[in-house]
């Protein structure tokens, strides 16, 4: 009891610190925003797209660093986030264009982006006079050092992601659910798939801060994976995934206040643990829910069966 009280005191002291407040707020906002676009990616069976974009964004970080070095900026990292954003958008659009061509090489193109993104990042950061250690903050996140300016960027970008992802949800759902039908309605399907890719790239850039580029896709996909275990509609899946994203981000980060662990990795571990718990508990809960209407309609089955005979 006294130990719990001690922990609570420790927590309230931490909460009073502006730095903790900023990192909690950033985690909360990103936790809400990332699963929105993740829902569309899961719907389109493009769960790994976020990973591809994340790897490309690393090259962008290094290129931003190179630009910083070339222009003699005092803070070499100043151009890292803009660089990541530009590279992520370019990579996302490239993947989408290759995919839309309908070639079987789309899978290979994604693989090339994965490897090229990481290798390019490491080589370019060397050229810029940095070391792999400089990349670590981007690879695994840096929630502990969120500045007020960082927080503002996070808020603005997340607002954009939510505006597109929620505002256009019927149209984006139509495109993801049945692309051929969506084209027959006259919707600008190509433009909308590219829009999804661009918003995914923005999500990667904004979530990079929280969980790092290597785990960025987990924050977009795992909350959706948990939500769809329980829900039966697209809309409810998205809303629940947003809630789960916020929950795992805040709780994962809070754990690292008490144990010196990497926040990004902790958030993903909490999310996957939640998935495991829900997957185990769900069959127990589901079994009790009655189905609407008869499972098998009364229909003639078009086969003539021999009268059942007793002997064999």
């Amino acid at each position: 009891m006294t130990q719990a009280a001690g922990l609570w005191d420790q927590f309230t002291v931490l909460l009073a610190s502006p730095m903790t407040q900023r990192s909690l707020l950033a985690a909360l906002i990103v936790g809400v925003a990332a699963p929105v676009i993740g829902t569309y990616l899961v719907q389109r069976r493009l769960s790994l797209l976020g990973d591809g974009i994340g790897h490309v964004a690393l090259t962008g970080v290094a290129m931003g660093w190179l630009v910083g070095a070339a222009t003699g900026a005092t803070d070499l990292a100043a151009y890292a986030v803009p660089g990541a954003m530009v590279a992520a958008i370019a990579g996302a659009v490239l993947i989408e264009v290759v995919r839309a061509r309908g070639q079987a090489s789309g899978d290979v193109a994604l693989a090339l982006l994965f490897y090229g993104g990481i290798a390019g990042g490491v080589v370019i950061i060397g050229l810029a006079g940095g070391t792999n250690a400089n990349l670590m903050a981007y690879l695994f996140g840096s929630l502990a050092t969120v500045s007020s300016a960082d927080l503002l960027v996070t808020v603005v970008m997340s607002a954009g992601i939510l505006a597109v992802g929620l505002g256009l949800r019927t149209a984006l759902f139509a495109v993801c659910q049945d692309e051929e039908f969506a084209r027959s309605t006259g919707l600008p399907v190509r433009a909308m798939t590219i829009l999804i890719a661009v918003v995914a790239a923005l999500t990667v850039t904004v979530a990079m801060r929280v969980v790092g580029l290597l785990l960025v896709s987990a924050l977009m996909i795992v909350p959706v994976a948990v939500a769809q275990l329980i829900t039966s509609s697209f809309h409810r899946t998205m809303v629940l995934a947003m809630g789960i994203g916020a929950l795992v981000c805040v709780s994962g980060l809070t754990i690292t206040f008490f144990h010196r662990l990497a926040p990004g990795a902790m958030i993903v571990v909490v999310a996957i643990a939640l998935y495991a718990v829900v997957a185990v508990v769900r069959p127990l809960v589901r079994a009790r829910r009655p189905r609407p209407g008869p499972v098998h309609p009364r229909v003639a089955d078009d086969v003539r069966l021999q009268p059942v005979s007793q002997e064999r």
Partner: protein
């Protein structure tokens, strides 16, 4: 006015010529079956007319406008053969039908969307399945959801690709009575079919495609032997080739 006009249509897919010089004209208010064996090019013709496949030669006009942005797409309802694979995220029947309200300029279901989807689902006899996940429905029910998604647009031209293939009998009956009702409302309907089956009395004209060419355009062809028994149900999509030679190509239109 003609609802669909395809003139001198050639379509190539993957280097092979699928359609050869196809000429088809469908008048407003007609119910036309496009028939043929598997691989004859009948679905390709439908998709090419909708601009879903590239056309190598010839022109298509829909509702009097050349294929493209000028076509009033909000007046056209399309029912694909198998509407989409089960996707990653569950979606209810109502959510799927609601996407039928969208068009080039309409990106939101908007006001009245709920009533419109409810009435479209009622038309196909699935009011009680509104909240059920689409992937839990039977094949026939999924097909009816796809039809509701096309009807919610209140189309002037309805294009259906094999709506009876692999569909259970209640769904076939619902579909036949629905088509009969739509016919009285003078809705132009083009339906790609293997066999006429229960739809025979509703169809005005048949276009038969063989080897990518129109080989018949006119009266309904008789069913092939063993397919003409009244008890024969066409539940399986993988037969229906014409053993009987259809009448020679008839160029005059009714």
């Amino acid at each position: 006015m003609s609802a669909v006009t395809a003139a001198n249509l050639d379509v190539h897919l993957g280097g092979a010529q699928i359609l050869h010089d196809v000429d088809v004209r469908i008048n407003v208010g007609e119910v036309v079956a496009v028939m043929g064996a598997n691989g004859s090019g009948k679905s390709t013709l439908l998709k090419a007319c909708l601009g879903l496949l590239p056309i190598s030669r010839g022109q298509v006009h829909l509702l009097g406008r050349p294929l493209g942005r000028a076509v009033p797409w909000e007046k056209i309802g399309y029912v694909p053969q198998r509407s989409a694979q089960p996707s990653g995220v569950p979606a209810t029947a109502e959510e799927v039908v609601r996407t039928g309200l969208l068009s080039r300029r309409r990106w939101w279901a908007g006001r009245g969307g709920r009533e419109a989807t409810a009435s479209a689902l009622a038309q196909v006899g699935l009011s009680d399945r509104r909240e059920q996940p689409w992937h839990e429905l039977s094949g026939g029910q999924q097909q009816r959801v796809a039809i509701a998604r096309a009807l919610v647009r209140r189309p002037e031209l309805l294009l259906l690709d094999e709506p009876m293939a692999g569909v259970d009998q209640p769904s076939q009956e619902v579909f036949a009575s629905l088509l009969g009702r739509l016919k009285t409302e003078r809705l132009t309907t083009v339906v790609v079919l293997h066999e006429l089956g229960v739809l025979r009395p509703l169809i005005d004209r048949a276009v038969v495609i063989r080897g990518g060419r129109v080989v018949h355009d006119g009266a309904l062809p008789p069913a092939a032997p063993f397919h003409d028994h009244p008890d024969h149900d066409h539940l399986h999509p993988d037969h229906g080739d014409y053993d009987v030679e259809p009448e020679p190509h008839q160029t005059t239109l009714p």
